[in-house]
């Protein structure tokens, strides 16, 4: 009984977004990373083009994390507190990108100055040859000050700067425009809000090829299903021609899963949760795998083993 494999006739593709710039292009990166370009749903290669593999980014902080899970602390060991060494170790493990979170600039977490943040960015750029994503501490005013300094310090590098939100995007977008960077547009798990923010940002003159969508990641057990479905809806809209949704996804799987009790707490939790270390890594990997199935283009992860494993998973899915 001959069975004909059904294929969807998608009409559009996700835009390609390039991170990093080589010396010839005004940057210093040894390699660029292009994400996006999909003309079909995740890994259905027989149906449409998937020109670029999803990329794993290692999450690095600008300070020694004092509130991280003991599992992460012991896995990274000495490099915590040394962002350049930490980033280099992450890249050595297989990460194709580095995400530097400037948490130490938060007033409650050290209040480092924009100039100090810029120095950290330069040090990380020097330590690795992959493109760099830089996230502010998540407080609008501080983010703006810090990210402007970072954008200038990394001028021409095609950093990805984040995050832009509907209430705070102008300063970051202007800094990206002036210094040739990409921005991350973050909206709270909603198709229309994501589109609206992309419109606002592109209205400022930053074209869509310079924007990544952060759909807001929920960890496994903590809202993952909302992220999963909003990503599927956005991606289907992108493939059927909705221009403002045709951007690659940036997902902070590590940040979200490692702040949950399952990954943070060893004692006083039910025995049925199983071995702490094994569970915590599995929590991050299950979150990341589901997001990959929903169309994630950049997966920011925290644990060394998660990074190594997800790189291999992507190898298999892109074979």
């Amino acid at each position: 009984m001959p069975v004909e494999i059904p294929k969807e006739a998608w009409t559009s593709r996700v835009l390609e977004v390039t991170l990093g710039a080589t010396p010839a292009e005004g940057g210093t990166r040894g390699r660029k990373v292009v994400v996006g370009g999909e003309g079909t749903l995740p890994f259905l290669h027989y149906e449409g083009p998937i020109p670029h593999r999803p990329v794993v980014a290692v999450e690095v902080l600008d300070r020694r994390p004092d509130d991280w899970s003991p599992i992460l602390q012991s896995a990274w060991g000495d490099v915590l507190g040394d962002p350049a060494a930490w980033a280099a170790k992450g890249v050595a493990l297989g990460a194709g990108l580095v995400t530097l979170r400037l948490e130490g600039c938060h007033p409650d977490k050290g209040g480092r100055s924009p100039a100090a943040a810029a120095d950290t960015v330069k040090a990380v750029l020097k330590a690795v040859d992959v493109p760099l994503i830089v996230l502010g501490p998540g407080q609008a005013e501080v983010d703006n000050d810090v990210l402007v300094a970072v954008a200038e310090a990394g001028a021409g590098e095609r950093l990805a700067l984040g995050v832009c939100e509907d209430k705070n995007y102008r300063t970051i977008v202007a800094a990206a425009l002036a210094n040739k960077h990409v921005v991350i547009a973050s909206s709270p798990i909603d198709v229309n809000l994501a589109k609206q923010l992309n419109i606002l940002i592109s209205d400022m003159g930053l074209s869509l090829e310079n924007i990544l969508i952060d759909p807001t990641t929920g960890a496994l057990g903590y809202g993952l299903e909302y992220t999963y479905s909003v990503m599927e809806r956005l991606r289907i809209a992108a493939l059927t021609g909705d221009r403002m949704t045709q951007l690659p996804f940036f997902c902070t799987a590590g940040f979200e899963s490692w702040r949950q009790k399952e990954s943070k707490v060893a004692v006083g939790v039910p025995e049925t949760w199983g071995d702490f270390g094994e569970r915590a890594v599995a929590w991050e990997l299950a979150t990341a795998t589901a997001l990959l199935m929903a169309g994630a283009d950049i997966l920011v992860l925290r644990h060394p083993e998660s990074i190594q494993r997800m790189v291999k998973v992507i190898d298999r899915l892109m074979a």
């Binding site: 059904p6 995740p42 290669h45 057990g221 009790k261 702490f276 890594v281 795998t289 494993r309 899915l317």
Partner: protein, 452 residues
């Protein structure tokens, strides 16, 4: 696949060419055959209301009404496992209905002691108890007697459904004889043995897994087996590995839903451990299968640390997007509160409730947790949607008579809705409104160091 109203109309007296003499007779209670067809399409009417529809049309309509992915039941009683009946490719289109079951594979040459604890495993999440669905017993020994003895032993260890993995019909028969008639799944019928396997399934009432490494071959086999009188089938398309698994399972779901291909309209069984490097790798592959279209997932490893995240993922993916899991509004006692204990209010989104209740319990400070009806939304979402405002909170405090339980007039609200403070003070004269932490994880610190 369901027919559209117009497609149904063409089968009714009024839609035939030429029209039936009883076209638009109104005897069904609707003004025209077209109106009746629309109601049928919306499943708001029953075809039996029309006496004049032809037998062929009736058959076509009832066939179209059958689910595109057949519902297959394994086991019986409390531990019955049902899978299938899916109607969409993406959960946001409606919902996924029957979550995939995890079955632990053991071999009849193994020590079977691990089966008991694995089947007894139950982890609680948002008030639900999650666990494995059953055991897949493999006839690795090649001996029918050893296989039957293992099945008998496992039947003594768990009442959950079994999958009998054996290619030798004689060994299957021996196992079926001691299985206890609990509707197991026989794995698997192939091009080589399908006649005997189908006969065994038919005779014993077992469901039958069908394996072929091509979809053509699979469709051909299910067609023949159906012809032999077996309806309840499960497909193994032979796909192993993440890429082939994803693509093949997507194709199967699409063929069933979009092409209405009955021959492949059955749940799919997967074996994520085959080809996996280790237990964690198997769990990653299984996570893919949970997201993308598996019906039965046979695992080679069991440990709580890997089962818990996988069961949680399954819960996430199979939660109805239209109906967030909710708890009943009310005043909940955490620990043994006294009239001087704190009262905290939050929404009835189950995850919110269980997270907050867990933290209060963990703090060691007994208290009351007041749950307002936010229609299952979390604090911020409910606040944004107007389902968790000052009026709702004040009303909930009255509704559950909080005043009668406590000696003070203090109410702790979530930090995320600190902006409701002024309005609440107006609504609840005589109460002191306190702003609690934003995140549940900070509740312990709040109750121990801030609450007074």
């Amino acid at each position: 696949m369901a027919l559209s109203g117009l497609e149904i109309y063409k089968l009714l007296p009024g839609g035939l060419k030429p029209p039936h003499p009883k076209a638009n007779c109104k005897e069904c209670g609707y003004p025209t055959c077209l109106a009746f067809a629309m109601k049928l399409a919306a499943k708001q009417a029953d075809l039996s209301a029309c006496q004049y529809v032809s037998a062929e049309a009736r058959a076509a309509l009832s066939a179209a009404a059958a689910p595109p992915v057949r519902l297959v039941t394994l086991g019986a009683g409390e531990f019955k496992f049902e899978v299938g009946n899916e109607t969409v490719m993406f959960r946001h289109e409606k919902t996924f209905f029957h979550f995939p079951g995890f079955f632990l594979r053991v071999r009849d040459t193994d020590d079977l002691a691990a089966v008991g604890p694995a089947m007894a495993y139950s982890v609680e999440r948002v008030g639900m108890h999650l666990g494995l669905s059953g055991v897949a017993v493999e006839n690795a020994s090649g001996s029918a007697a050893t296989f039957a003895a293992a099945v008998k032993q496992i039947r003594g260890l768990t009442p959950k459904p079994l999958i009998l993995i054996c290619s030798d019909p004689a060994a299957c028969q021996a196992a079926l004889a001691v299985e206890g008639g609990q509707r197991p799944l026989l794995y698997a019928a192939t091009a080589a043995n399908w006649q005997e396997m189908a006969a065994l399934a038919k005779e014993s009432g077992a469901a039958l897994a069908v394996r072929s490494d091509t979809l053509d071959g699979l469709a051909e086999l299910t067609d023949k087996i159906k012809g032999a009188g077996v309806e309840d089938m499960v497909l193994d398309p032979g796909a192993r590995g993440m890429l082939e698994g994803l693509q093949t399972l997507t194709n199967l779901r699409r063929l069933a839903l979009k092409k209405n291909l009955r021959a492949l309209g059955y749940p799919v069984i997967t074996f994520p451990g085959e080809g996996a490097a280790d237990a964690l790798d198997e769990a990653i592959v299984a996570a893919e299968h949970v997201a993308k279209y598996a019906g039965i997932i046979v695992m080679d490893h069991f440990s709580p640390a890997l089962a818990y995240p996988l069961l949680t993922l399954r819960l996430n993916i199979y939660t109805d997007p239209q109906k967030p899991i909710q708890v009943s509004p009310g005043l909940y006692e955490i620990g043994t509160p006294t009239p001087n204990s704190p009262v905290m209010v939050t929404t009835n989104f189950s995850l919110t409730y269980f997270t907050v209740a867990g933290e209060i319990e963990g703090s060691g400070v007994p208290g009351y947790l007041l749950i307002a009806d936010s229609e299952g939304m979390s604090v911020l979402t409910a606040w944004a949607a107007g389902k968790f405002d000052a009026e709702k909170i004040a009303k909930t405090v009255k509704q559950f008579d909080v005043e009668s339980k406590i000696a003070h007039h203090k109410l702790v609200i979530p930090g995320y809705v600190a902006s409701l403070l002024g309005e609440l003070e107006d609504e609840m004269q005589g109460w002191e409104i306190l702003v609690g932490p934003r995140e549940a994880v900070d509740i312990t610190n709040y109750l121990k160091n801030v609450w007074r």
